[in-house]
């Protein structure tokens, strides 16, 4: 622990924020890849593959992207709760 507690606090806050951004960016990359990638940009290529009775690209566009969004948000909630505890920034109950 350094002598100046406020400086200490600032560097911890900065480290917390960096980790937060890293979580955010990795999840948003998946968000983009699944919806805009699989559902729009590469949909015709993926449609060549059959997936439980759907052309795969079509499935991503009308079903899969929504399920992925849901999973992403709940993963985010879990990761952030853990991060909050790690830096002791969680709200008091």
């Amino acid at each position: 622990m350094s002598a100046d507690p406020s400086r200490d606090n600032q560097s911890a806050a900065a480290a917390y924020w960096r980790e937060n951004i890293r979580i955010l960016l990795s999840l948003l990359v998946i968000w983009f890849a699944v919806s805009f990638g699989c559902g729009i940009l590469f949909v015709d290529q993926l449609d060549q593959i059959s997936f439980f009775g759907f052309p795969l690209g079509f499935w991503f566009a009308q079903q899969g992207s929504i399920y992925t969004f849901l999973v992403l948000i709940f993963v985010y909630i879990g990761l952030m709760n853990r991060l909050d505890r790690k830096y002791n920034v969680q709200e008091e109950e």
């Binding site: 992403l72 830096y87 920034v89």
Partner: protein, 595 residues
């Protein structure tokens, strides 16, 4: 019991429930009125957000739109759900930590400027009115179709109900009413969907039935649909017809617009903690996804049903529901080749919406005064039919039809109430308390909010009775403006500490002006699709507006002064969930630290 009696019973009971809840949860303070006291459980808030978000358009029209668009319909499915990922990760937790009442509150404080607040208030009011006019019309249409009252009487009854619980209860009343409305709405959507899925595929879960084989054949639902469509000359259902770039831009504009819509954002001010704000966004998407993953399945089942029932069928042999919906003007048939059979082909059969004359044709069909088009298509189908007529097409009992009526009303009323609240808050809080009359007490502010809500309901009702012809086309406005104005300003306000007043205002104004002029030019001043920039339609231009906003904000911000220290501290504070805004060096999982 007769179907009509059941409809009155179901709608009446649901209304009694909403009013009961409103009386039980009356608002006592401005905090109750604006953010439900800030104490709403995340699951309840998620449900309320879902009901707030899913309007008459989601409930009644979306499946029909997808049914006629095929794969391209995915832009609405992804666009209106993907925005919640952005909300949950980029906006909701930080705005909750900021902890005020409205979006203009955040804009004004973060950009230390009353000008910014006024720009924000104007956007909020414009976006919300655009939306609410459509909802009131939706209420009127459901009333007139199911309860056999005049459309204007329907609008009046709807106004009366919203008046009771929005004006009395404020956000608190609205939130708990919306929870009830969500339950009514989702039940009403799923029951016919499950029945129709069983009927066509034998699988009771629509999301799975969507990928199953059509009963009695070896073809999957989508193969069957592609085959039927091709036979009649339609494009394959699983192929898109819009350009990739346009679908990309529209989807992005809808997603970002969703994340920037004030009546959605404000819901995250109502949770007790930052942690709950994140959770609320997750639950909201979960509850929305139940309907949004069912809708494309309903769209494909309904399309198969329609093609199989009407194509080449003799008019006189058609089931009774066809005549019912022909009577309400949602279907029409013109026997162009006088063979007494329906030919359903691509293209519009007649010019404009059907206008019936008081006479019947040789087969007993209602005759129209419209000019016929040159193509071979003889059938006019309104897209709303896909949800509204579903129970009848599937031969379901009367109580299911009654349920759909109550569900459609729940969807329209819940969205209207949420929007009216945002409008009244902007006036009483942002304009009066924070700008024109800072001296008023909490009681006076609450009264002003209620008067503003009542006035807003009146204006919205007028828009429902005399619908401006452009309601449908201005929805593009709401999303485009939200995407090109609020989203960049809020995002940069949280993630870019150096962003200052000059940059944010310049960005919002240019984004807004660019998007508005593009939409106005192509929607109202006769611009043609050959002139679209990069092939982007007005619905998708908000995405470009957003990029312009970002670019202008960043450039202007770098040639002007950094924001004051106090504002930079505010940004530091909203980034940390803890109330005192302090962080400590990392500790290992399981270890507890007391500061």
């Amino acid at each position: 019991m007769a179907t009509q009696t059941l409809i009155f019973l179901f709608v009446g009971l649901s209304f009694a429930l909403y009013i009961g809840i409103a009386i039980w949860s009356r608002a006592g303070s401005t905090k109750d009125y604006y953010v439900a006291g800030g104490g709403v459980h995340p699951v309840a808030n998620g449900m309320a957000t879902a009901a707030d978000w899913m309007s008459a358009a989601s409930f009644i029209s979306m499946a029909g739109i997808i049914s006629f668009m095929g794969r391209d319909g995915a832009m609405y499915l992804m666009g209106w759900t993907g925005g919640y990922v952005l909300l949950a990760m980029c906006l909701a937790p930080y705005l909750r930590k900021f902890g005020q009442f409205t979006v203009p509150d955040f804009v004004a404080e973060r950009y230390y400027s009353q000008t910014a607040r006024v720009v924000a208030v104007i956007c909020v009011i414009f976006i919300s009115f655009t939306y609410v006019a459509g909802q009131m019309r939706g209420v009127g249409i459901v009333f007139s179709r199911y309860l056999e009252v005049d459309i204007n009487v329907g609008v009046m009854i709807g106004m009366g109900i919203v008046f009771v619980y929005a004006v009395l209860g404020g956000m608190k009343g609205i939130t708990y009413t919306q929870v009830a409305q969500y339950c009514v709405m989702i039940f009403a959507y799923l029951v016919p969907a499950i029945f129709i899925s069983m009927m066509i595929t034998g699988n009771p879960i629509p999301q799975l039935g969507f990928g199953s084989h059509v009963e009695g054949t070896s073809l999957s639902v989508l193969e069957k649909l592609n085959g039927l469509s091709q036979e009649l000359g339609f494009a394959q259902y699983t192929d898109g017809s819009k350009s990739t770039i346009d679908v990309f831009f529209i989807t992005m504009a809808l997603m970002v617009g969703t994340a920037g819509l004030p009546h959605v954002i404000v819901r995250f001010f109502t949770t007790p903690t930052v942690r709950d704000a994140r959770k609320s966004a997750g639950y909201a998407l979960l509850f929305i996804a139940v309907l949004y993953t069912t809708a494309p399945a309903v769209a494909s089942f309904a399309r198969i049903n329609l093609l199989q029932t009407v194509s080449e069928a003799e008019y006189e042999q058609l089931p009774e529901w066809f005549a019912n919906w022909e009577n309400s003007g949602l279907m029409a048939w013109v026997d162009k080749n006088d063979d007494g059979k329906i030919q359903y082909r691509p293209g519009a059969p007649i010019e404009g919406k059907p206008s019936f004359i008081d006479a019947r044709g040789d087969s007993g069909e209602r005759l129209l005064s419209n000019n016929q088009t040159g193509n071979a298509n003889e059938l006019y189908v309104d897209r709303d039919i896909m949800v509204l007529a579903n129970p009848e097409i599937a031969n379901l009992p009367g109580w299911v039809i009654a349920l759909v009526a109550a569900g459609g009303l729940a969807a329209a009323l819940s969205t209207a109430a949420g929007l009216l609240l945002v409008i009244s808050t902007s006036i009483s809080h942002d304009l009066l308390k924070r700008n024109l009359m800072p001296g008023i007490t909490d009681k006076q502010e609450l009264l002003a909010a209620r008067i503003a809500a009542a006035a807003a309901i009146g204006v919205a009702g007028l828009a429902g009775v005399y619908p401006p012809g452009f309601v449908a086309s201005v929805v593009a406005f709401a999303f485009g403006l939200a995407a090109s104005s609020f989203f960049p300003a809020i995002l940069l306000g949280i993630f870019y500490k150096r962003m200052n007043r000059e940059g944010a205002i310049a960005g919002m104004v240019t984004g807004l002006l660019f998007t508005a002029s593009y939409i106005i030019y192509f929607k109202f001043l006769g611009g043609t699709s050959e002139q679209w920039w990069f092939g982007v339609s007005p619905e998708g231009i908000g995405t470009l507006g957003m990029l312009i906003n970002f670019a202008v904000s960043l450039v202007v911000c770098h040639v002007t002064e950094a924001p004051p220290k106090a504002v930079q501290n505010l940004v530091d504070d909203i980034r940390i969930p803890r109330r005192d805004g302090k962080a400590s060096e990392p500790v290992e999982e399981g270890e507890t630290v007391r500061v």
